[in-house]
Symmetry: C2
Subunit: 538 residues, 2 copies
C-alpha cells in the first residue's frame, strides 16, 4: 500500500535507525482529512515490540558516540534537518493541510518556526556557553587536605522519547522543540508520531534520517515509530535504554506516562506539558479606556487556529464597571461573526462539545454564546463559545478550572481586585497569566502580580498569550499541570536543560576529559574557572 | 523539662516562624548517646498538625516578600547564620558528640564545612550571575508580527521542606546544603529535624532564627519541626504551601515521600539522595604497581566516619593478576587492625548487621573478614567487614547491589576489563565511580570511562570517593537511586538549581520588573542581552 505524493513515497512504516521496518502484522490506521472526512492513504502500521526494542537499543548505542560529538557537529545536524525539511517543499505543506484542516499559511508559518527553532539550537550549541562549564584547579598545598582538580559540565542524559501533540504537527513533534533541544543536548531521540498526522510525521522523519546520514552520524540517533493506542507509548517509556521523556498532550495521557516513568526499576525524568487555561485579568482603568481594543485582541487570540493552542485564553477576569459592557458586547459581536473552523480531528471536536456541555451545565454559569452543533462534512467544524460566571461560582466549581480545548472562554466577574487575586491563587498552574492595565494601574496591585507569578511561567502585560516567541528569554512552562516540572521550559533555548545532567571529572588528565573541559579553549566558550568567568585557556 | 547546657537552654520544642510552639500532647522521644546508651535530656515533643500547618503557612506568606529580597540581603542572611553557628561554640560540639558518637574533630570539621558552605552560597547570590538572566528587547518592526520585550530569570519555587539524614548532623541538615541553597534561591525553609540528633538541630535552628531576626527578614522564612514517625514528614510534603522537597536518607523513606509528592493535587519537585555503593575499579597495571598504596587509601575511605558516608566505597572491582593478592592482604590487615567505631544509632547498627548477613548469606560470596558482633555499651559499636565474589555472581544477585551502610565492602573479581565494564553497566545509579589506572592505562579503555559516566555523577581518577569538595564544579548526584533526579546536584553551588524556576516577563515596564531584570545593572551581573553576554546596562 504505497501512495505517490508528488515526488515522495509515503510508506506507512515506522523507521528504526534510518530503515523502514518490515510491515509485519499488528494494528493499522489511517489519517483522516478533518475538513472532508476523507480517509488519507497510505495505511499506517503500528510498530511491533521487537522493532521498538531495536529502535531504543539503537538509540542507546548511538548515544555513546553522539555524546562525544562537538557543538559544531550537532549544529551541522540541526541545520541539515532544517534544510531537508525545507527541501520537502509543497509536498509537506499539502500533507499537513490534508491531515489537519489548518490553512496553508499556518503550515508555512509553522514550518518556518520549526526550521528557525532548529537553527536557534544550532547557534546555541555551536557557541557552547550553554553547558555551564566549571573548572576548579587542584591545590596541592591546601590544608588540611589537598584540593583535587574538579571539572563539571552539563552532559546528555541519554536517549529521549518524544511524544508530540495533535495541534503542532511540525513545531512540537517529529523535528519540533523537544527533538531539537534533545539533539542539541547530545541525546538520541525516538519519536512516537501522533496518529492524527502520520504522513506529516513520516515526511519530517525522513528529512531527519537524511540529515543524520549526510552528517555521518550513527543512524540510531533518530527513530520514528507509529502507534495509535497505548501499547507503543507505554513500551517506549518503559524501555531501559530510554533515559528521559518529553510529552505534550492531555492531562490523562501525561499522568499515565509519568506514572510509568516513576514505576520503572530506574525512574527517569518525565517532562510533560499537560494543560493550561491562561487567565487574562482586565484591570478597571484599562477596561474603561479601551474595551473594544481589548475585545478585538482577545477575539484574535481566542479563535486563532480554532482555539487549539496550549496558550489559548480560556479565562477572562474583570470587575464590572465602565467599559465592561462595551467589552463583552464587542467580544460577543466578533465571536458571533466568526465563521466555523475545522478542528484537528473528531476526538478533539467531540471533546470540545463535551467541554462546552460541562461548563454550560454548571449552575451559575451563563451561556453568552453557544457554539453551533453542526460539525460539517468531516465532523470537525466548530464555532466559538462564551460563558460567564461570578468569581465565587468559579472558585467553587472545580470543573470550570479544566481546560476546554477549542475557541471557548469563560468570563469571570470579580467583586474587586482582591477577589481577582483570590481567584488567581485558586487556579491550577498555568503556562501564562496576562494582565491589561493602564500605566501605573498595576503598580497599585503588586499582590496581583505576585499571584500571577505564583501560578504561571510567563507573565504578559497588555498583550495576549498566544504567539509564543522562540528565543533565549521565553518560558513555556509553569506549575503543574501546565508542565509536570515547573523548573523547566519546553520552548526557547533553555529547553535544552531538560535533557542534560551535570557530570564531574575529578583529577582527570587532559586527554581523558571531554574536549570542552580541557585547558585549551579554542572556541572561546565562557567558562567559570576558579570562580571567575573567562573565555580564554586555563 | 528544660536542661541547661553550658549557657544554652534546650527546650525540646519545634519552632514555628521563630517561636517555640506550646508543648501540647503528642508523642515524645529522647536522643540517645550511641557510645554509652545514655538517654539525653531534654525530652523532644513531636509537632502537632495545627502547628505544622502554621509553619507551612508562615513559610508561604514569608515567601512572597523573601522572593523579592536582593542577592545582598540573602548573602547577609547566609553569613549571619554561619556566624551564629560559630557563636554556639563548644555547646554545639558537645551536643553533636553526645548525640552521634563521632569524634570532636569530625564535629569541628563538619561545622567548618557547614559554615563554609553557607558563605559559598552567600558569595554566589551576592554576585548574581547564577540566575541565568536573559533579556530580548522588543522589535516593533519585525515582520510578520512585532517582537515583544521578554525577560527571563530563575526565580524561587517557593517554600522548601528539608529532611536531613542521621549521618551529617550539620552539613546536610538544619543549616546544611539543602537549607543553604534554598535560602540562597529565595525560598523559605521548613526543616524536619532528624530524631537521631534533635539537640544539635535545635541549637542550629536557634542560630538560624537569630540570624533571620537580625537581618530583619520575616520569621516565617525558617521553621524547625520535630517528629519521630512518619506523620510529621508526610503532612509536611503534602502541605499546599510547600513547593519542593529536599531529602537525604534511605531508599524506602525517599520513595515514600516522593510518592506523596507525586500524589498531591498539585505535584511538586522532590529531590532525594537515596543510596549509592560507589564502585572503585582497579585496572591491572595500577594494581600491579601500587597494591599497598591503594589498599591504604581504600582502607581510609572505607572506615572514615565508621563507613557512614553516602560516598563510602562499597564495591571494588579488579582482575586477578600481579598485585591483587598483595592488595587484598594489605587491605585485610588494615581492616583487622581497625578498632571498633561507634555508629550513629541502634537502628543503623542493626541495619549494618542485617546488611552483612544478607551479603554473607549469598551463595558464591566469600567472607574475607567478618565484623565483630559485639555492639558495645550503647549497642552501636561496629567493626569493618570484607567480602568477595565473582562478577558473574555479583551481577546475578541483585541483593549484592544494595547499599550496606557502614564500613563494609565487596571485592568483585572480574575476568577481564570487558567483564568489569559489563558489571559497571549492571549497577544502579551511583553518586561516584572511581578508577585507579597507570598513566595511559585508562586511554585504552574508553568503554570503561563511558560506563562510569553512564552510571555516576562524579568520576574520580586515582582517588577515593569520600571527602566531597564543596565548590562550583562538584557534582553530588547521579542516576536513580543515587538521586531521584539525575539533572541536579545536592552539593556545591549548582545545588541552588533544584529550587528555582524560570519566569518570563513580557512587555513589563522597568518599575514592575524584578530588579535584576531592569535595564540598569549596577552590580555588573553577567546577563544575556539580545543574544550577547554582557555585564553593563541595557
Amino acid at each position: 500500500p504505497v501512495i505517490i505524493m508528488t515526488d515522495t513515497l509515503l510508506q506507512g512504516l515506522s523507521t528504526v535507525a534510518g530503515e523502514p521496518v518490515a510491515a509485519a502484522g499488528g494494528a493499522t490506521f489511517h489519517a483522516v482529512n478533518p475538513a472532508t472526512g476523507e480517509r488519507l492513504d497510505p495505511e499506517y502500521r503500528e510498530i511491533g515490540d521487537a522493532d521498538l526494542d531495536r529502535a531504543c537499543r539503537a538509540a542507546g548505542e548511538a548515544g555513546v558516540s553522539y555524546r562525544e560529538s562537538s557543538g559544531s557537529q550537532r549544529a551541522a545536524l540541526l541545520r541539515a534537518i532544517a534544510g531537508e525539511i525545507e527541501a520537502l517543499g509543497e509536498t509537506l505543506v499539502d500533507r499537513y493541510v490534508a491531515e489537519t484542516g489548518l490553512p496553508r499559511a499556518r503550515a508555512e508559518g509553522e514550518r518556518a518556526r520549526t526550521c528557525g527553532q532548529l537553527r536557534l539550537f544550532a547557534d546555541l550549541v555551536e557557541a557552547g556557553d550553554w553547558a555551564d562549564i566549571r573548572i576548579d584547579r587542584a591545590d596541592p598545598n591546601r590544608a588540611p587536605i589537598p584540593r583535587p582538580d574538579t571539572r563539571m559540565m552539563l552532559r546528555p542524559v541519554g536517549p529521549v522519547a518524544v511524544f508530540g501533540p495533535a495541534n503542532f504537527p511540525l513545531a512540537f513533534t517529529v523535528a519540533g522543540g523537544d527533538t531539537a533541544s534533545a539533539l542539541a543536548a547530545g541525546c538520541p531521540v525516538v519519536v512516537k508520531a501522533h496518529p492524527s498526522h502520520p504522513g506529516t510525521s513520516e515526511l519530517v522523519g525522513r528529512a531527519i534520517d537524511t540529515a543524520v546520514r549526510r552528517c555521518g552520524l550513527p543512524a540510531g540517533v533518530f527513530s520514528l515509530v507509529h502507534g495509535q493506542g497505548r501499547r507503543v507509548g507505554a513500551a517506549l517509556v518503559r524501555h531501559p535504554a530510554i533515559r528521559a521523556v518529553g510529552f505534550t498532550g492531555s492531562k490523562a495521557g501525561g499522568r499515565e506516562l509519568q506514572a510509568l516513568c516513576a514505576a520503572r526499576p530506574e525512574p527517569i525524568p518525565f517532562f510533560g506539558e499537560l494543560s493550561s487555561i491562561n487567565p487574562i485579568c482586565l484591570l478597571p482603568e484599562a477596561l474603561a479606556a479601551r474595551p473594544e481594543t481589548i475585545a478585538a485582541g482577545l477575539h484574535g487570540s481566542l479563535t486563532l487556529g480554532v482555539g487549539q493552542f496550549c496558550t489559548n485564553p480560556g479565562l477572562v477576569l474583570y470587575v464590572p464597571g465602565a467599559g465592561a459592557d462595551a467589552f463583552v458586547d464587542a467580544l460577543l459581536e466578533r465571536l458571533r461573526e466568526t465563521p466555523p473552523g475545522v478542528m484537528l480531528n473528531r476526538a478533539i471536536r467531540r471533546a470540545y462539545a463535551e467541554g462546552l456541555a460541562r461548563v454550560g451545565g454548571v449552575r451559575g454559569v451563563e451561556t453568552l454564546l453557544a457554539a453551533s452543533e453542526d460539525c460539517g462534512p468531516g465532523g470537525c467544524h466548530a464555532t466559538p463559545a462564551l460563558f460567564r460566571a461570578d468569581a465565587e461560582v468559579f472558585r467553587r466549581e472545580r470543573v470550570l478550572h479544566e481546560e476546554v480545548f477549542g475557541p471557548a472562554s469563560l468570563l469571570v466577574v470579580c467583586r474587586d481586585i482582591g477577589d481577582m487575586v483570590e481567584t488567581l491563587l485558586a487556579l491550577e498552574g498555568q503556562l501564562t497569566a496576562t494582565v491589561h492595565a493602564q500605566p501605573d494601574e498595576l503598580a497599585a496591585h503588586r499582590d496581583l502580580l505576585a499571584a500571577m507569578e505564583q501560578r504561571a511561567g510567563r507573565l504578559v502585560l497588555d498583550g495576549f498569550p498566544t504567539g509564543v516567541e522562540v528565543s533565549a528569554s521565553i518560558v513555556h512552562g509553569g506549575p503543574w499541570p501546565a508542565t509536570t516540572d515547573v523548573r523547566f521550559t519546553s520552548v526557547g533555548t533553555a529547553a535544552v536543560y531538560r535533557w542534560v545532567r551535570p557530570v564531574c571529572f575529578q583529577d582527570f588528565p587532559q586527554a581523558l576529559l571531554p574536549e570542552a573541559l580541557r585547558d585549551r579553549n579554542p572556541g572561546h566558550v565562557a567558562r567559570l574557572v576558579d570562580g571567575r568567568r573567562c573565555t580564554g585557556d586555563v
